[in-house]
């Protein structure tokens, strides 16, 4: 039963519950008109403590396309947060007005805190470098729809694997499916954190390898998940400049990949995927963004128990 629940961590839902969401998302994709009034009278609060146009638009579009409405803030400076209001007080107040809330926060664990004090479902839309479970839903829905399965896949992750929360969340989620192989391609400075390596990969006996060059690994992959090296995650600008261009996907590298390999990216891209790849049918990242909206539509319908 998903009604009344929160989504804070990608592991909050069972595989069966995820399937419920994917099934509903599939039906929304096939019959969008059927759902255009489903959320009439419902209000989504978007609490964005750091800027994120894409995720916020995705949630807002999802709610509006379901016939609901949206309130919220997109930077803390324009809200009571700038007066020093705590996360707990904010969510308690917002719960008086809205039916469901989505929160992005620069501090890790903030949405979890909100869920502890909230009367309404809280969705984590990214907390610092930590988790981003609705991006994971998006990624899983994209893979399931486009590949037809979530098992027996070799998935390469490339770029910033240390601070890339979408990567952490997706690896956690994939670890529950059969026959998953993971290839981690990153510079040494941005390698996957120990807790993902030890608790998720090693403890679940997931086959994985770590590599430093895209071209060495791309030929064995079903999916290549690219990430950008985010400037805001660095304490030091020199480190950022030194590392940002090292892992760029271009036409030459794509020639080494299978004809049905799929390129995913949580977006926005900076320069890690060459624009000439956009025309390649294997480039799935813009379609992935559309799947993200459908995944969020299905998620909100389930959390509010709307039929």
């Amino acid at each position: 039963m998903l009604k009344g629940r929160h989504l804070i961590d990608p592991m909050d839902f069972t595989l069966e519950e995820l399937d419920e969401i994917f099934e509903l998302a599939g039906d929304i994709i096939d019959h969008p008109v059927k759902y255009s009034d489903s959320m009439k009278g419902k209000l989504l609060a978007t609490l964005f403590y750091e800027p994120s146009t894409r995720t916020r638009f995705s949630f807002e579009a999802a709610m509006l396309r379901l016939g609901g409405q949206v309130i919220g803030f997109s930077e803390p400076g324009s809200s009571s947060v700038s007066k020093g209001e705590s996360v707990a007080d904010t969510i308690k107040t917002v719960g008086c007005y809205a039916d469901i809330a989505v929160m992005r926060h620069p501090k890790e664990g903030a949405p979890k805190v909100a869920s502890m004090y909230s009367e309404i479902p809280v969705i984590n839309a990214g907390d610092g470098g930590h988790q981003h479970p609705t991006q994971t839903l998006t990624d899983l829905l994209t893979i399931k729809t486009e590949k037809g399965r979530l098992s027996d896949l070799t998935i390469g992750f490339c770029g910033d694997l240390k601070f890339g929360r979408t990567v952490h969340s997706l690896i956690k989620a994939l670890s529950r499916y059969q026959g998953i192989k993971i290839v981690l391609i990153s510079p040494e400075e941005l390698m996957i954190p120990d807790y993902i390596r030890n608790e998720i990969l090693i403890n679940n006996n997931i086959e994985f390898k770590e590599a430093e060059r895209i071209e060495d690994e791309i030929g064995s992959l079903d999916i290549l998940y690219m990430t950008r090296v985010q400037k805001e995650r660095f304490f030091n600008e020199d480190d950022y400049i030194r590392l940002k261009d090292r892992f760029i996907l271009d036409k030459e590298k794509m020639e080494l990949a299978h004809a049905d390999m799929m390129v995913l990216h949580p977006l926005p891209r900076v320069n890690e995927i060459d624009y000439e790849i956009d025309e390649d049918p294997r480039a799935m990242y813009f379609k992935q963004a559309k799947y993200g909206m459908y995944a969020r539509m299905a998620l909100m319908l389930k959390l509010l128990g709307v039929k």
């Binding site: 705590s86 996360v87 707990a88 926060h105 620069p106 501090k107 890790e108 664990g109 903030a110 979890k112 805190v113 907390d127 610092g128 470098g129 930590h130 120990d194 807790y195 608790e199």
Partner: protein, 143 residues
């Protein structure tokens, strides 16, 4: 040599690493006790070289989980009518609340102070705890 009389009914917390006694004294709230309590520091010990001991002349129901976290070598004896009636075995608690603080500067607990600091034991043999909010891992030996 300093002499502290044995207790009739109460608790003896022994084999505390020297220097840790005062912390435990405070964690258990013994600094506010209105009954007889002794904190004995730097006692000669064959096993530890030096150790601290706490003696409590009162029948109390204490939360010993904190002791297991601070130092699993600590022993706790329950005394009744001058005789040791029970030895409590300490182990690492599954959940620790408001005993340790997360040191991750990116964790929400670093800026919002009302939030309870909660840690869960993730690896018993390695003595590792994870912050429930940011997933940062801490070894007991580093705490």
């Amino acid at each position: 040599m300093l002499r502290i009389n044995s207790i009739k009914n109460g608790i003896v917390i022994d084999h505390i690493a020297a220097g840790l006694g005062i912390k435990i004294f405070q964690y258990l709230g013994l600094d506010k006790a209105d009954y007889t309590v002794a904190l004995i520091m730097n006692v000669d010990s064959k096993k530890l070289g030096k150790k601290d001991i706490i003696k409590i002349e009162n029948e109390l129901d204490l939360d010993y989980t904190v002791l297991g976290l601070l130092d699993p070598n600590i022993t706790v004896d329950i005394i009744k009518e001058n005789v040791i009636r029970e030895k409590i075995k300490l182990s690492l608690p599954e959940k620790v609340e408001n005993v340790i603080k997360c040191k991750n500067p990116r964790c929400i607990t670093s800026v919002e102070k009302y939030i309870p600091n909660i840690f869960h034991l993730v690896d018993h043999s390695a003595g590792e705890y994870r912050c429930t909010y940011c997933d940062e891992i801490y070894k007991v030996s580093d705490l």
